[in-house]
Amino acid sequence: MTTLSPAAARTWSRLPRRHVPVLATLVLLLVLYGVGVSQYRAFSNVQVVFNVFIDNGFLLVVAVGMTFVILTGGIDLSVGSVVAMTAMVSAFLLEKGVPAAPVLLVALLIGPTLGFLMGCVIHFFDIQPFIVTLAGMFFARGMCTFISGSSIPITDGFWTRMSQERVGNPHGNFVSISVLIAFAVVAVAAYTLAYTRLGRNVYAIGGNAQSALLMGLPVGRTRIAVYTISGLCAAIGGILLSFYTLSGAPLIAVGMELDVIAAVVIGGTVLTGGSGYVFGTVLGVLVLGVIQTLITFDGSLNSWWTKIVIGGLLFAFILLQRLIGIRYK
């Protein structure tokens, strides 16, 4: 007879345990926001919060894709460049007079295609994701400069509308359409991870790829899928960025992959894979956004102090997050 009834006392402490990192992040984010409000009067404007979303919509979408990849224990360094390439290709095609719909289609296809190819190389040839996606990063950035050495403005009507349409009160508080798209992506991703086989396989592979293989899960297919998803998210992010800036520039989003990875990790996803939530990623993006807003509001830091303070705030945040995590373990 085997009885392993978990003591009732353990149930309450176990249930939220896996949510503790996310909850801690949420609390700390609110504290950070509180600091802003107490320091700068204009910080309490609702529009400030909306702006954080408006300004980070594309980052959020890309980070959602990265969450999939990191959950499997991989990494995708190509996202920043794919974002730039998507924006660049869109701008280039629009400049050539191609109508908006085919441009959108092409732009949305390039990212996933590249992601798919990278996923195949990673899976079939057993090459480390870091190096494959680094090559992908070189490739996509190379395509940007190859298409044009200088930035290309977008004047297309559809793009302009998407860029300048204000949802909400156009003279009061509003968000951009990109924010709605970003939320839609987040919702779809969260659903996929929680309720579909693909999503559960992602977690399984991140937990232990070899076990997942032996359990008869489609490891290869899933792995290729996550890089494709990340490519798709980067492509959507690229479109949102082109809405945001109404142009394609060869050097835009340089180093974005690091911001994205940072956001995902701050959101509580473990880099070795297998644990984390899309909601955490949303929080991670917001943390970066709020830190930046704080610094702009301060407005007294010079260039190097800006970097030092960003580093310092990041440190304080992660340290607290970690300490809370330990306490509740």
């Binding site: 190389v121 899976h123 079939f124 040839f125 057993d126 090459i127 480390q128 870091f130 190096i131 494959v132 680094l134 090559a135 992908g136 990063m137 070189f138 490739f139 950035r141 190379g142 395509m143 400069t145 190859f146 050495g149 070899q210 293989l213 032996l214 490891v219 290869g220 690091l258 990875i261 940072a262 990790v265 701050i266 473990v270 880099l271 010079n302 260039s303 190097w304 102090w305 800006t306 970097k307 030092i308 303070v309 960003i310 580093g311 310092g312 990041l314 440190f315 992660i318 340290l319 970690r322 330990i326």
Partner: protein, 356 residues
């Protein structure tokens, strides 16, 4: 199976065979493009030529990548090395620039000691965040990557600090026995690290921590100390590289010095055959990887590939290197010609022998 075949097989099965092939192919391509590429002349008592340039310029990358190898072997990663290069270089240059006699040996030595000292402290900081507080390495070192750039600029006040010190300059462009001094420094560091890891048990313990951290703890390894140590070593290597970079141009540029060198270093480590997951590491492979990357950069300049396309070129080469090196790729490629039975002997063991 003839003797000849067997030795060929042993050779191609060696982990570093294929990177070497790519390196040779690249040099050959350069030579075809410009036959004088390989020529080395004697000029002012030292050797002069593109090959020498490659060696000298790869010295800092080799240094950074060596430190990175150890960090990666423990299953970590160090993104802060670029900023550490900038900081240590800036500190050294700042100290020298304040001296009345910039050529004084003593002043240069103090400058180096200062730069190195600060780097060691920052390396320990990284180590503490990772090993003691338990923050994920990529994030822990990202903090210093961001803030460190700011520190470096704070030190130089955002300007490019030019110095005029021959002893310091020698670190970057000096010569010894007709060869650049930087090569000797990198080689010395490589030997030192090799001795420290392979002559002692450090290498074993590092590989053990990287291979299975939980098991290592239960085997009584003080993994926190080991982890701390590798971040410190990595910082020290970065500092030395920072001295070289700044000495090379006799000036400290807080913004540009060592920018993105962490990516190159990680790439070198990975090309060298060390897995980012941690565990077994190969210092020789890393050095080869660094040489390969520098050769690639030099090739872009020497063949005058336009800057617009140079990244595409780089992408192609990087992918070629990994593909040709990947056992999975070669297995698929050779399957048609080699009977399957002998294949297992050629194909190198991946971490877990499981067919996907």
């Amino acid at each position: 199976m003839t003797n000849h075949q067997a030795s060929y097989r042993a050779l191609t099965a060696h982990r570093l065979f294929w990177p070497v092939v790519v390196l040779v192919v690249m040099l050959a391509a350069n030579t075809v493009y410009r036959p004088s590429f390989l020529s080395v002349q004697m000029r002012d008592g030292h050797l002069y030529g593109s090959l020498i340039d490659i060696l000298r310029l790869s010295a800092p990358l080799i240094l950074v990548a060596l430190g990175m190898t150890l960090v990666i072997a423990t299953g970590g990663i160090d993104l802060s090395v670029g900023s550490l290069c900038a900081i240590s270089g800036a500190i050294a240059c700042l100290h020298i620039s304040r001296q009345p006699d910039q050529n004084s040996f003593g002043a240069v030595l103090t400058a180096l000691a200062l730069g190195l000292g600060v780097a060691l402290v920052l390396g320990a900081w990284n180590g503490v965040l990772v090993a003691v507080i338990g923050i994920q390495p990529i994030i822990a070192t990202l903090i210093l990557m961001v803030a460190g750039r700011g520190l470096a600029q704070l030190i130089t006040e955002g300007q490019i600090l030019t110095i005029n010190s021959d002893p310091y300059k020698a670190i970057g462009v000096g010569h010894l026995l007709t060869l650049p001094l930087a090569i000797f420094l990198a080689a010395a560091a490589a030997l030192l690290i090799a001795a420290a890891t392979r002559r002692t048990a450090l290498g074993l313990l590092i590989e053990s921590v990287g291979g299975n951290a939980r098991a290592s703890r239960l085997a009584g390894i003080r993994s926190a100390r080991i982890t701390l140590l590798v971040y410190v070593i990595s910082a020290a290597c970065a500092a030395l590289a920072g001295f070289m970079m700044t000495a090379n141009v006799s000036s400290a540029d807080g913004n540009a010095a060592g920018l993105w060198v962490e990516l190159d270093a990680i790439l070198a480590v990975v090309i060298g055959g060390t897995s980012l997951v941690g565990g077994r590491f190969s210092l020789g492979g890393t050095i080869l990887g660094a040489l390969l990357i520098q050769t690639l950069t030099t090739t872009v300049y020497a063949m005058n590939i336009s800057p617009q396309t140079s990244l595409l070129f780089k992408a192609v080469v990087v992918i070629a290197v990994c593909l040709i090196q990947a056992p999975g790729f070669r297995a698929r490629f050779t399957r048609r010609t080699t009977p399957i039975a002998t294949q297992a002997a050629v194909v190198e063991q991946p971490k877990e022998q499981v067919r996907a």
